[in-house]
Subunit: 346 residues, 2 copies
């Protein structure tokens, strides 16, 4: 019986090291297009240069590592080569001066995730950043949603950004939160970013390594929906200390959030807690509460995640208009106190 | 001045044909990892086999086609090779018996898109499919959201699917709608699909070509959020007749939806109309209406799209519970009549 998953394969390949760069082929982003079907594994091993002298040895090592997994009958390794841009990124440390990353000192990195779209990841990220900066922390927000970035609009900041000898300087909000988002690099906020996965991943890596964040106590990473390139890159390339999982009451949403929980578990990133957003609507005139999106399923998500429900945020009509006006920093939500306490303990 | 975009580059590469397969390198999915920066274009040309005899000619043709574009100063072409699975897919017609696609006759393909997550794409897709089948059409739904699939749950259908000599047989809903979704292929609905872009794209192509849809009047394609791999693959590989764009009142959401409009325009897919979901909440007891997510911005999206606002759907608490119970086919929404009329005219 085949009990091996693609994440088992990636974990096995993590032990295959490039003999020259002394880093694993997974960390070097050399493994591409991995597929697993009926005991047959196929992937491309993308070398730094096509004529790489270690190519046969690397392919043989990779094949052997995967072949040893239970249920794997066949392993097909195709050799490829990196684009010049990719090669430069991988070899960056070797033939380029140190980039911004060398000047950054970031104590804790927290990913805000959901799997599902439209549940309020960016809203919660913005509210938490605001609460943390009010509590005296140095805070940054890395908007990892490259095709649907919301962070600049929530904080009312715009590009263009400035460069310095340390790299790209992030935007700074009214309260002093450092912000990086693709929308700060576009001429128009509604410009579409029509990129396939590898470019999405590269942009996120640059937001981490080429941005001069300086000294931060907390960097919050706002993830896009899904469990594909962006989430994989954040979890595999950034030193994530923990994930906050955002859900809404609807059962349909929580099913997709449970997939995100399983992904975090598959890549061994700890889940700090669950936050339920859109938890009912209280009519401002009558004070009556309506469960617009049905009864809560947050406890089921929390049980699967092995983490507590840290907050439940009801829908507030005023917040949508403050967010649309770029004034999220004026919102104070005491329901998030337990989340802030958990982040302080981290 | 550099006025060339990545979509211009792809259009230029569409004219570069593989001399043996008589199809363009774009249609053959040979162009990967395209990047454009300051007049320098880089991409990988993935050949069917590494030792392809046309490799130098193809690379030269591709370079020349891109070099001719305004503002392009340098073109870097890296050569790579397909995995065996990819090669089989591309050569499918040559050394395999005809797949399901040869037995399918699908009159109209409509993509339901938004760019933004959680605005109700799947809900609208399900409601439209229901209304169409009630009007006597043969209807299918292709769930192109591989990492966050909602369609099976809405219709209360489960896998496993059956194969036949024509390919994979889709699931069939109570009213007779043919359904295909990754969640019908998973053992557990909450299993995470942790795939990078190329596998996402391949799955969508298989949902189109390897599923025995048979004769359909309308196939609705439910897109995931974003303007990356899934959206690109649907718009470039499937014969889309038009796009329905879903938005919500919040300005923040509509900004991301406008990006999706720009993407559809960039790849020349016509936008049929705009549907606004979550357009206010009417309290069931008092009948009072609350603009929970702020005032509408649908008209601005429609103006950019050059298409009409076809429907505005208020929030209905009963619908969330019917959807969670897999009974979307019991929902009747007369607000969608104008959308159905537009689809009938298509």
């Amino acid at each position: 019986m085949n009990t091996t998953t693609t994440s088992d394969i990636m974990n096995a390949l993590r032990r295959v090291m490039d003999p020259e760069l002394h880093r694993s082929v997974v960390d070097l982003n050399m493994v591409r297009d991995l597929s697993l079907s009926d005991g047959t594994v196929a992937f491309t091993l993308v070398l730094t240069i096509p004529e790489c002298p270690q190519r046969d040895q690397l392919a043989q090592d990779a094949r052997a590592a995967v072949k040893a997994l239970p249920g794997v009958q066949e392993v097909h390794v195709t050799l490829g080569a990196m684009t010049e841009e990719e090669r430069r990124a991988v070899l960056g440390g070797k033939d380029q001066p140190p980039l911004a990353a060398g000047h950054n000192q970031i104590e804790r990195v927290i990913a805000v995730m959901s799997g599902k779209g439209g549940v309020g990841k960016s809203l919660v990220t913005g509210l938490l950043a605001t609460a943390l900066v009010r509590a005296g922390h140095r805070v940054g927000v890395l908007d990892a949603d490259i095709t649907g970035p919301s962070i600049p609009k929530l904080f009312g900041v715009r590009g263009p950004l400035q460069g310095s000898s340390f790299g790209v300087e992030p935007a700074v909000s009214r309260l002093g939160i450092s912000l990086m988002s693709i929308n700060l690099l576009l001429l128009e906020e509604e410009q579409a970013v029509i990129w396939r996965g590898p470019l999405i991943s590269r942009a996120i890596q640059q937001f981490w390594g080429d941005v001069h964040w300086g000294r931060l106590d907390k960097l919050l990473v706002d993830l896009p929906p899904g469990t594909s390139d962006a989430a994989l890159t954040v979890m595999q390339s950034l030193p994530i200390n923990g994930v906050l999982m955002i859900t809404t009451p609807q059962e349909l949403a929580s099913m997709v959030v449970r997939k995100a929980v399983k992904m975090a578990q598959a890549v061994n990133v700890p889940i700090l807690g669950v936050i339920e957003n859109m938890a009912g609507f209280v009519a401002p005139d009558t004070g009556r509460r309506y469960d617009i999106f049905g009864p809560s399923h947050a406890d089921e998500v929390a049980a699967l995640a092995g983490a507590p429900v840290l907050a439940r945020l009801p829908i507030d009509t005023q917040i949508a208009s403050l967010c649309d006006a770029g004034k999220i920093e004026e919102v104070v939500r005491p329901e998030l106190d337990a989340v802030i306490a958990a982040l302080k303990r981290l």
